[in-house]
Amino acid sequence: MSSCFQTLSDYGFRSIGYGERLLPKADITLCEQFVLIGSGMIWNIYFAFLALLLGFFFATVLALGKNSNLSLFNAPCRLFIFIFRGSPLFIQFFFAYDLFVLLPRLGFDINLGFLVVTVETRWLTKAWLGALIVLFFNTSAYAGEIFYGALRAVPSQDLESADAFGFTGIKKFRRIIWPTMLRLAWPSYTNEAIFMFHATTLVFFTGFPAWQQKGDAIYYASYFADKTFNPFVPYPIVGFYFILLTLLIIGLFGLINRRLNKHLPTNERKRLRFNKYNLIR
């Protein structure tokens, strides 16, 4: 047991570059598989969390743009959603990586007041930024379509009431349209969030290199499957971690769902469940 604690301190943060440098090669223990694959989950959570957080806001913008009557806003938003929803994420990763590689290597100084950061274009070829951007655009497009559908479904009475109470512009949007849109979209958006976490497993199978063997959960799982020639241990471990993560997301989004439905009479509230028969992806 104490050796497992040793493994934990050696490999617990291996995926982000702390601890033992060499990966286990021979006599791979169950503990090592559990710890390293768990360490890789840091990347999956990093990608999905940031992409969803940033994508949430961009998706709102896209939904409003697609709903706009002005073709100046409407056309680019439609095109963006079409491109990212109409092509496979796997190809998007390859395409983006190969585009980023072609960019000239430049550095820009950004003055933050207390600190000068040099932003370099070669960061785009690294997974932490390049893959994050692709995932961010991808989830924005899917969530944008979900939000757009919900926006179209906001009851007209709500809007009329808002007009009657003298709500206009930003205030009408923030107080009336946006909360209802979110409430209607929330079950589908929960699915999107779950699938975004699952989609992060693709990152290190595309062009983006896992530098110094710093990879995500499935990167280490396939490493172990290759080394031990036994797929029956590492892949179920990944499955176990992802089931835990999925339950966590459903729990978390369920809490938000409760808040969004708080004002409704109890018999109209809907419990959040995995949307069974219409997956939008």
Binding site: F95, F232, Y277
Partner: protein
Amino acid sequence: MFSYCVDPKTLEGLMWLSCYVTTAKHMSFYSSFLVVMGLLSLAAPLAMAFGFAGATASRSTFRIIRSLGKGYLAMIRGIPDIVFFLFIPIALDQAFEYLRHKILCSDVTEPIRQGNDFVVCAAAKLPLNTASEWVHDIYGFSLALLAFGFVFGAFAGNVLSGAMAAVPKSQIETGEAYGFSQSQIFRRILIPQMWIYALPGLSNLWMILIKATPLLFLLGIEDIVYWAKELGGIKTGVYEYPHPDWRAWYFGVLMIFYLSLTYLSQSVLDKISTRLSQGQATMAGKAG
């Protein structure tokens, strides 16, 4: 391909390009698009069969079958599909070889798992070492196909079980009132009536399936992604057709291919949905 392509070093412009895009390797690239189409046309019915079995099992009156079916439908919600794509082909391969080893080489007493090795006798290997190249290709493709069928079967099973649950109870009760047996109700009422509820979900699933086809690359199949990487990479002067890094162009072509495929599918599916909605007691049906 063309007669003037004998010495590409002397060619320029369009003539060079016309020779470049008709090399033998490019022909393999073009035929790999057929592999994608083949996978789509085989995986869709297979997934429907898996899904139908899963959905039916999850409604079974036997507890063991029911929980097996429910487990199958539920696992896809928690576990990323890529895990299955990586796991199923190698797991199936080892399972087949293990069984054949037990049957064909029962006299061998050494364990199959020796440390980090998986050792079966030569006769149990799949495909046999002596088999020709295309047997290996077909075997690899079949394993990939089974993985797609299994994963998308679970998705389809969720859609179908949802659709079965959506068929109005009164229709089932009408069947019972007329003295139908349970299997008659299943065959004559539940199955014909569920399709309209299943259609939106199945349409989405078709789109997801299209967008999952490049994952063939992960399974070691020489598909369009493999060829795009292969052909697009930098070709130095030792090659017949030297060029810089053109991978972005090749993947751009793949993007366009998939965008047109999904666009076409969407417009066909929209038409089917309009057609099927006619005469249904729904908003879409009444509007038409």
